[in-house]
């Protein structure tokens, strides 16, 4: 059940040039959060009024872990937050990934899309599963997840500065025949990458779950602003709300050309 609270900053550290890790104490949210869900952070800013959504990248007892990238004013502001400060947050919001216990779980994330994948990975590992993790980026300046036990990490960069040279979906396609069926793909990242994964899923008859992003105002179904174009089960055009119906969708539901 969603909860609004004054969270306390436990840690706020720089990971790479543009990526930061934020740890917040928020016991009720931490207790209920599932991989794929997100929170809204409120900024108390009278000019830029919207809260900002961030995926939950992990749970550490009473704490939430976020990984954020500086892209604009509010993410820039977050880098100045100090341990002990209080900031109002709302969560956990949205739906979550549906986990499969048999076959191979393949996680595909890049850049900011890494955050929910890290949470999903630790969740799968805690259940004794051994996910394969594909992490791709333009170059080695982006943030990559750390290798942890029982998880095979496959890294790629467009320019070959780290790992496989090429995009993450090409990398996955190269490896996929070595994986035990049935394969389940979970992903979060740029639209282009997720669209390529949808095609890959169709080609190999693999179930793909995607975490979508849009601009959000409320984050909880009040405004209907976070609409994206989707398909119903019968293939009819539909509109879905990312904050309430998502952020996780089956790949076949997403209309990438809308």
């Amino acid at each position: 059940m969603k909860n609004i609270c004054e969270s306390i900053i436990i840690e706020n550290t720089q990971l790479t040039k543009d990526y930061w890790k934020l740890k917040l104490e928020a016991p009720t949210i931490a207790k209920n959060a599932k991989p794929g869900q997100f929170i809204e952070i409120y900024f108390n800013n009278s000019v830029k009024i919207f809260p900002r959504p961030f995926s939950i990248a992990g749970i550490d007892e009473n704490n939430l872990v976020l990984i954020y990238k500086i892209v604009g004013s509010q993410t820039k502001k977050m880098t100045s937050w100090k341990t002990g400060e209080q900031h109002r947050i709302l969560g956990p919001l949205g739906n979550f990934f549906q986990i499969n216990n048999i076959g191979t779980n393949v996680l595909v994330g890049g850049g900011v899309g890494t955050a929910p994948m890290i949470f999903l990975r630790s969740h799968l590992i805690s259940k004794g599963l051994e996910p394969k993790y594909f992490s791709g980026a333009r170059n080695d300046l982006e943030y990559f997840p750390e290798e942890v036990k029982n998880s095979q990490l496959f890294i790629s960069t467009d320019d070959g500065s780290k790992g496989f040279k090429g995009n993450v979906v090409q990398h996955l396609e190269k490896e996929i025949q070595n994986f035990k069926q049935p394969i389940n793909i979970y992903s979060c990242g740029p639209k282009k990458m997720m669209e390529a994964l949808k095609k890959l899923g169709q080609k190999y008859k693999i179930k793909v779950q995607l975490s979508m992003e849009t601009l959000m105002a409320c984050g909880m179904g009040l405004c209907q602003g976070c609409a994206i174009k989707t398909y119903s089960k019968n293939g009819e055009d539909k509109i879905s709300l990312v904050c309430k119906d998502g952020p996780i969708f089956k790949a076949e539901e997403i209309n990438f050309h809308g």
Binding site: I4, K48, T214, A227, I239
Partner: protein, 304 residues
């Protein structure tokens, strides 16, 4: 003890003057696990139409200085689903329930009104005239006084319940529109709906919302709303429900002084879902400090 109760006409008494603005509070129950929704004097529903509407294609919202622009397009689940799914919640709700109605043509408004008139937990109606009339080439019902009068006049015969018309600020003279509402025998006016607004992405050159022009709301529009309330308070005797950019208890007092009997909270729900709690606390402390026994006594008391 401070008395926060308020009457909007003889038909509706609220435990306090704070209601929700249509389209900014879901269908009324979404926030019920996050905040105490019983704190409101009343809930105004999302604009309902007879049939479900999927609304406008994305992108539908954009953040603008101290506000936002939306083009949701009156997306809603339609009357029957609303009644099926929400009745249970509303039957047990403490405050008053006002249903906001948006039709595409006159008949649609009347049909909905007739159906809801029979439902016990519906205490009143807010008529959204800021929607396009499909029969008349998409022109809004609420832009021309005569045109709007023709729509709302027959409504009085269809219900004895509280009937309020929500006015658009995108007109030459809002007071003239309010006079028509009074003439049609309605119980109150609410104002303002959103202002015209647009924003362009300077890198792609594209408009930031699909319909190019949408509705501006949020703190940025409060002075416009206050001006409209002042003007209307001078022109009509029926109560005014003030809407537009309310964020704090101070804002609420300002609306009451300008001439509003009650107010609706809108965009604030997106950036401070618990605003109602903070506002009520302020209202009580303000009354104590200013030695006001009944909050309703300050309506229209601005020294103008």
């Amino acid at each position: 003890m401070v008395d926060l109760t308020i009457k909007i006409s003889d038909k509706i008494e609220l435990q306090n003057p704070i209601m929700t603005a249509s389209g900014t509070f879901g269908y009324g129950d979404e926030l019920s696990t996050v905040i105490n929704t019983n704190l409101y004097g009343g809930i105004v529903s999302k604009s309902l139409s007879l049939e479900p509407r999927i609304g406008n294609p994305p992108p539908r919202i954009v953040e603008t200085p101290s506000g936002m622009i939306n083009s949701i397009g009156l997306a809603n689940i339609g009357l029957s689903r609303f009644l099926d799914e929400k009745a249970k919640y509303f039957q047990n709700y403490n405050g008053k329930i006002i249903i906001n109605i948006a039709g595409k043509q006159d008949d649609e408004f009347y049909t909905i009104l007739k159906k809801l008139d029979k439902i016990e937990w519906v205490h009143g109606f807010e008529i959204n005239v800021s929607c396009p009339n499909v029969k008349e080439g998409g022109i809004q019902f609420g832009t021309d006084p005569e045109f709007m009068f023709k729509l709302i006049q027959p409504m009085r015969d269809l219900t004895d319940k509280f009937l309020m018309v929500k006015l658009s600020p995108n007109v030459t003279d809002i007071a003239q529109m309010a006079e028509k509402v009074q003439l049609a025998g309605c119980d109150a006016v609410s104002m303002i709906n959103t202002l015209y607004g647009a924003a362009i992405d300077i890198y792609s050159g594209k408009p930031k919302i699909n319909t190019v022009v949408g509705g501006l709301s949020g703190p940025a529009i409060k002075p416009v709303a206050i001006a409209n309330v002042i003007k209307t308070y001078k022109a009509v005797d029926i109560p005014i429900v003030g809407i537009g950019g309310i964020t704090t208890g101070e804002d609420v007092i300002e609306f009451l002084l300008a001439g509003a009997s009650a107010v609706e909270l809108g965009t604030v729900h997106f950036f401070n879902p618990n605003a109602v709690d903070e506002i009520l606390q302020f209202l009580v402390s303000y009354c104590k400090k200013m030695n006001i026994k009944r909050l309703r006594d300050i309506t229209g008391k601005a020294k103008i």
